[in-house]
Structure formats: structure tokens, C-alpha cells
């Protein structure tokens, strides 16, 4: 057996005192770490580019579909334009094409329609209070007390139970005026004023619209109603005849 070659290598290694080996190993490790890092960065970049490309292609398709209005159905809503003290309500149909949201006109909703709808819906929700199917949030059933819109933003009140069930546009409508539900027993009437009175506002001889819960008919007074601290009371005078709609909405 000849161990001559082996001894030569050992000798050479001893001469370098391991420096070459350590240097090579360190270089190799640095290179591998950097290479792994750069590979990860490049892979991430490729993925990001791919995502950007996919997003761009998807967006192009969405734009075409939205331009051609291919989405059926949609959610109803209202675009409200306040101009020169006048409130203009336009019904809209909101549609979603993947991530793009767009909407279109869906006809105008008149104040009269919205007023009728709001009163009618309030009457429906008030019936739920009367029947006991809806409570004040603490489990208390309605016992016949007056309900005032000025309190309706406070959870736990009967007013809140009515107000919170209204649609967005009905809430807007109700917020722009003052309202109350007054009555005793099963008979009741809903009253709307023309403008909003806050909790510290009082007025007399206010014009008011009324809805009768028994008949489902509407009427309006020329004047006479009292508002105390934002609470509307029934004391109107010069009432119009009862009708199926209030054609005198503000």
C-alpha cells in the first residue's frame, strides 16, 4: 500500500494552515445565500409581473362589460343633489362588475313618492310595535306612549326601532323634517313637518302632513301644529280632505 500521495496533500494543507479551505467555504456560503436571496427576489418579481398582467387583463374585461352594462339586477339607491336649498332625488341602480362599481339612472323619485313611502313604511313598523313583534331593544313592548322622531337616533327607544328599519333614502327624508307617531290604543296618526326641528327647537303654527293608521289615508294642515323641543304634536288646523297620497309634499 502506498500512502505517498496522501502525505503530499496533507503536507500542502498543513502549509496553508486551513486558510484556503475556510476561505472557500465562506465564499461558497456567501454565494449560496446571496443566490438564494436573489432567486427569491426574482421569483417574487416574476409573480408580481404576472399578477400585474392578470389584473390588467381582468380590468380590461371588466371595463368592457361595464361599458356594455352586462350586469343584470343591481341594488337600488338614491343620488341626492342639494342645489339652491332644493333637494333633488334621483333613483339609481348600483351594479357591480367584479371589482368595478357603476350605476345608472333609474327614474326620478319625487318627494311625494318618497314621503308617501316613508310614512307608509313607518306605519308598517309601528304596527310591528303594536303587535308586540318588535320591542324597544330592552325587551319592553309598546304601551301606547307617543313616539317622536327627535329621539329616534337613540338605540333602545321605540322611535329608533321604527327609524332604523327605514331605507337609506327614507332615513334621509325623515332626517330632513320632524315626525311623530301619536295615538292611543290601536288608533294612531303619523305627523311630518316641512322642516327639521332639533331637540331645543320649538315653533307654533307649523304646517304638517298626517297619515291615519286606520284608513291608510293622508292629509295636510295649512297651519296650527305645535312643535316643542323637536316633538311634533297634533294641533293642526285648516286640514285638507283625506286622500290616498299627499300631493302637496314640500
Amino acid at each position: 500500500m502506498d500512502f505517498g500521495g496522501h502525505r503530499v496533500i496533507l503536507k500542502k494543507l498543513k502549509e496553508k494552515k486551513g486558510e484556503l479551505l475556510i476561505e472557500s467555504v465562506v465564499s461558497f456560503i456567501i454565494f449560496i445565500v446571496v443566490l438564494a436571496g436573489v432567486t427569491a427576489v426574482v421569483m417574487t418579481s416574476v409573480n408580481m409581473n404576472k399578477e400585474a398582467g392578470t389584473n390588467a387583463a381582468k380590468l380590461e374585461k371588466e371595463i368592457k362589460a361595464a361599458e356594455n352594462d352586462t350586469v343584470t339586477g343591481g341594488t337600488g339607491g338614491i343620488m341626492t343633489i342639494n342645489i339652491g336649498g332644493k333637494k333633488i332625488l334621483q333613483k339609481i341602480k348600483i351594479k357591480k362588475q367584479e371589482s368595478l362599481v357603476y350605476f345608472g339612472g333609474n327614474g326620478a323619485e319625487t318627494q311625494q313618492e318618497l314621503g308617501d313611502e316613508t310614512m307608509s313604511d313607518m306605519a308598517g313598523y309601528f304596527q310591528d310595535l303594536l303587535s308586540g313583534s318588535v320591542t324597544d331593544g330592552s325587551g319592553n313592548t309598546y304601551t301606547g306612549e307617543d313616539i317622536f322622531g327627535v329621539d329616534s337616533h337613540e338605540p333602545g327607544t321605540f322611535g329608533y326601532e321604527i327609524y332604523s328599519r327605514l331605507t337609506g333614502s327614507e332615513k334621509d327624508f325623515a332626517d330632513d323634517l320632524s315626525w311623530s307617531v301619536l295615538g292611543s290604543g290601536g288608533a294612531y296618526r303619523i305627523y311630518f313637518t316641512l322642516s327639521h326641528y332639533g331637540s331645543t327647537d320649538s315653533a307654533s303654527n307649523v304646517r304638517v302632513y298626517a297619515f291615519d293608521g286606520d284608513t291608510g289615508l293622508y292629509r295636510y294642515s295649512q297651519t296650527g301644529t305645535e312643535v316643542e323641543n323637536g316633538q311634533v304634536y297634533d294641533s293642526g288646523s285648516y286640514w285638507s280632505a283625506w286622500g290616498s297620497s299627499v300631493d302637496e309634499w314640500q
Binding site: 456567501i30 436573489v38 338614491i78 343620488m79 331605507t167 337609506g168
Partner: protein, 194 residues
């Protein structure tokens, strides 16, 4: 000192470091470009969303102007002005800019997140003249509106915005009996959109 520079010991580490720096710079550049591409794509999507808000809003405003309450409001401004002028011709009267606030709501009660229309303004020039009658009983009161400019800014996510300016003209006439207005021969024309 010369010895150190002449010596080849430890040369592989600087070489590897140099290669590493080159690789890292190249990788960083590629990543920067890729993230730029992705953010451009996202920005493009948000810009398109702002465009669709603007386009949708203009469609609804157009409907309200040509066949709804907004048009009626503007026509009545001109007509009331004619009445308050005793029925005498009012020529080249400038109106506005009249500021308007726009709000959106859904029937479900929730608001449409991220949407808004800001800085809506309307300005126009009107001509009005009455055929016969006075006060609340004007007959054949002609109204023409020129250079009616509706402008607004559609904003998405409080960041991306899209400005719109639409120009209209109108002509028509009204007969007023005891304050009740009946409009006829009405024509709204969309002149230009910017």
C-alpha cells in the same frame, strides 16, 4: 503593504462579494420594476373606478336635467326671474356658479363606500321673454338657456379623481295660469363633454 496586495490569499471573498452586490442590485432593480408594474395596474384600476363614478354620475345628472327635477329647477329659476321682472324681456343673464352637494345612499341603508362627487357647480346664461300677460299669468313665455355648464369631480377612495364638465343648451316655452306652469316645445341639447 505590497506583500498584502500581491498575496492571493482571501481573494475569493471579495470576488464573491462583488458578484453578490451585482446580483443584489440586479434583483433589486427587477423587484422595483415589478412592483412598479403592479402598483401601476392597481392605480389604473382605481382611476377607472373614478372614471365610472364620473360617467355614472353624469348619466344620472343628465337624466335629471333633461327629464327631471334638476332641469325643472333651472327652468323655473329663469321663469321666476322673468315674472319678478314684470314679464319684460331678460336677456343674457348670467347665473351661478350655483354650488350643489351630491350624496349617495343605498336602499339597504348602507352608504356606498369610497364614492363621492365633489365641487359640483352649475352656471348658465339665460334669455327669457313673455308673449302676453303679467305676473302669475304669463302666456308663451320663452326661455332659452345657453352655455349651461355642469362641472364636478368624481372621487374614489379620497384619492383618485376624475373631473367632468358637460355643456348643455335649452329652449322651450311656458304658459302660466294662476301660477301653474305648463311647458312646451322643450329641447335640451348636450353640446359637449370634457
Amino acid at each position: 503593504m505590497k506583500e498584502i496586495f500581491k498575496s492571493k490569499k482571501g481573494i475569493s471573498i471579495p470576488i464573491v462579494m462583488a458578484v453578490a452586490v451585482i446580483l443584489l442590485v440586479t434583483g433589486g432593480t427587477v423587484l422595483y420594476a415589478a412592483s412598479g408594474n403592479l402598483s401601476t395596474a392597481n392605480e389604473e384600476k382605481n382611476n377607472k373606478q373614478a372614471y365610472f363614478i364620473a360617467r355614472s354620475s353624469l348619466e344620472v345628472i343628465d337624466e335629471s336635467l333633461q327629464d327631471g327635477a334638476l332641469g325643472a329647477y333651472i327652468k323655473n329659476l329663469v321663469l321666476e326671474d322673468l315674472i319678478s321682472n314684470g314679464g319684460s324681456q331678460v336677456k343674457d343673464k348670467s347665473w351661478g356658479p350655483i354650488q350643489a352637494n351630491v350624496k349617495f345612499s343605498q336602499d339597504s341603508g348602507s352608504s356606498i363606500s369610497g364614492f363621492s362627487v365633489k365641487n359640483m357647480e352649475i352656471s348658465f346664461i339665460s334669455d327669457a321673454a313673455a308673449g302676453t300677460g303679467t305676473g302669475e299669468n304669463l302666456q308663451n313665455a320663452t326661455v332659452s338657456i345657453n352655455n349651461l355648464v355642469v362641472s364636478f369631480k368624481a372621487v374614489y377612495n379620497s384619492r383618485e379623481s376624475y373631473g367632468v364638465k358637460a355643456k348643455y343648451s335649452y329652449s322651450g316655452y311656458a304658459n302660466i295660469v294662476d301660477g301653474q306652469k305648463t311647458w312646451g316645445s322643450e329641447e335640451w341639447t348636450l353640446v359637449d363633454i370634457e
